[in-house]
Assembly symmetry: C2
Homo-oligomer: 396 residues x 2
């Protein structure tokens, strides 16, 4: 039977089976034991079911199965069922969510995913390197063009807008797309390397599809999307749209409001992992475990696993972000593998010799790890990497 | 100058001015003190500004002003600016948000609001009474019709779908609208009272407008909307649509994931109060301070104030919900005033003589308070109220 299974973390305590039963019934058929047998048989296929209750003495988990017959196969209906009213019901966190096979098939997953993006870039065997525009608010299109050139020429694979750069008179969305395409085409002619630029898709919800379609027509290569400022279902609609044939990079902006508390809200692996992948994100940014805006290592690992393991969807690229500099590349590859994106802002723009050298240093660090060299050894021959290590060091 | 001002609660500590300055710059122009004077003058109008920093020794608040020049005038851009990356930045809660006058005018506020809904119902001087369908999952359209008749005939002003009833084969959306209209028209002919039925608008985001327009054509009288399973901007689009001339009732499903932690997320008065009102909710449900899914009294008061006080929008109806029975009516009116909606599910359907009697008991309780009687006095003459008080009591 098609269903969704949700696991909740709640405080340890007595009567947890009763609590779980109350949730399973309250969020489905309402009541059960006092119903006439005929009504019970009619409602059987709609009744929620307690799958398990565990209690380790400090905290407990309740796992409950909700029949898919109760909701339409869309994320808003599923979220409302499994964590609608329940999100308001005391100390409770949604820590896992699984769709049965037939329900999972109602969602698209990534259109491109890791393999599709690698194919677009012609890069098969190493982590990708991404950089972020720096301080574009209040700056004009010339600054945009020169920053993009420097980053792309230095050797990165992807460039993304800052998530706080919206459509604006100085660097309008369509200008960024058009000029972005021109710059990246030029870099490809010069270097043979294809680079993707993720333009921030912003504005009113009901304008996004037309705007994204227009971006595709104008030659955009990828979209950045602040999905949690809109809704997961909007991401899904963009991913499913055949007239928007672009990889979508999901930004975690606003998600901390849902995930940061250990006691309330939704776990990162559910929100940034499972749900973003099901809804169709091709790349997912999340706080790295290294910076000062850091997630715990186990949380970032859980997000990355949710993005890449198990059927039925294509894998999405994990993009651990914030606090990344070239000295961290061995650690990043150890933690997230070659099928991840190394993403830096300050670690590229803050390079003593500028953004192009910053990008080059990252590529040199990646090549060093791929070739089994230490960064220090590689830096002897490579001045960009050497300058980066001098500035940021290598964590021991 | 047009702007948005956000207030955050953070842990007490040293260097809070530096932290606030880091936010004000980091979420706007990026850096400041090292910029050349020319660049500073170009960026002045984009620079965030620390308005105040207070610290009472146990917790601190930071208030920061963000120029509207930095974002498009939509809620996703504003949320991403004021609580995008910042939501991921350690222990921090967004506790207040204010739009400058010119920014506020970019948002619709309620299309009907309290006055408009009162006008539709012809009820000017008392709290409205609302009831909720009971256990409709797995039930057919006959059950829908008979529950609606019982509730409406008993004297309530509004009936709403349960938020977990989605579009489904047993009670499809359009059937509920059509049959709802027929029943309510009949009740109006019989009793002279108009009753509104809020049908749950559900499904995929990009289908909602057409579905709501179709509902309006078919004679729907109001919409229920799980706004936090979609996005505030979707609510705004529905509210602004001239082809959807229906009051919108916002349900708090999923909002607890954002509001419940005292240390993280977004305060109820911001999310359920200010933002829902700005986006155009006509009625806002939130947990009452009385039930077992309760909010603190000060939080419910803050939500109600944010929905009803100050310009420039129409006032939205506060609808404190959960745990409501007729014995609580004097308390509800004392706490939320006559310009509120008294909303009950179990407190109507659980009446010993059925839902119609349950609805009547609530109306009798409201009339008693309006006429300066105690519930006990009124119950001497009124058997429905008497039975309700016998069952649920009157809190002392």
């Amino acid at each position: 039977m098609s269903d969704v299974t949700a696991t909740y973390r709640v405080p340890s305590g007595p009567d947890l089976h009763k609590k779980a039963e109350g949730i399973a019934l309250g969020l489905t058929v309402g009541s059960w034991t006092n119903l006439p047998a005929l009504e019970q048989s009619q409602l059987q296929q709609h009744k929620g079911e307690v799958v398990s209750v565990t209690d380790d003495g400090s905290q407990a988990t309740l796992t409950i199965r909700y029949p898919a017959a109760n909701f339409s196969p869309d994320i808003p209906a599923i979220l409302t069922t499994v964590f609608g009213k329940l999100s308001l019901d005391g100390t409770i966190k949604l820590v896992d969510l699984s769709f049965s096979e037939s329900l999972a098939q109602q969602f698209p997953g990534p259109t491109y995913g890791i393999d599709g993006i690698r194919k677009q870039l012609g890069v098969t065997d190493r982590p990708l390197v991404m950089s972020i525009f720096k301080g574009m608010i209040g700056k004009g299109i010339d600054e945009f063009e020169s920053q993009l050139k420097a980053q792309a020429r230095g050797g990165i694979d992807l460039v993304k807008d800052d998530e706080i750069l919206f459509d604006n008179p100085l660097t309008p969305f369509e200008y960024r797309v058009t000029i972005g395409k021109r710059v990246l085409d030029q870099v490809e002619r010069e270097t043979g390397r294809r680079v993707l630029y993720a333009v921030n898709l912003s504005g009113r919800t009901y304008e996004l599809r037309d705007k994204a379609r227009r971006a595709a027509e104008l030659g955009a290569s990828a979209l950045l999307f602040n999905v949690f400022a809109y809704g997961l279902d909007v991401l899904q609609a963009l991913a499913e749209d055949p007239e928007i044939p672009l990889p979508i990079m999901a930004h975690p902006a606003v998600s901390g409001a849902l995930t940061a508390s250990p006691e309330y809200g939704i776990a990162n692996q559910v929100l940034l992992g499972k749900l973003l992948r099901a809804a169709g994100a091709d790349l997912v940014l999340f706080p790295s475990p290294y910076g000062n805006v850091a997630l715990a290592q186990e949380e970032t690992t859980a997000i990355a696993s949710a993005l890449t393991e198990q059927a039925p969807y294509r894998s999405a690229f994990p993009v651990p972000s914030a606090g990344i500099h070239p000295g961290l590349v061995p650690q990043l590859i150890a933690d997230f593998g070659v099928h991840s994106v190394i993403n830096a802002g300050g670690g590229i723009h803050g390079h003593p010799d500028g953004a192009a050298a910053g990008a080059t240093a990252f590529r040199q660090a990646v090549d060093a790890v791929q070739n089994g060299l230490t960064l220090e050894d590689a830096a002897r021959e490579q001045k960009e990497l050497s300058a980066a290590l001098n500035l940021w060091g290598v964590p021991q």
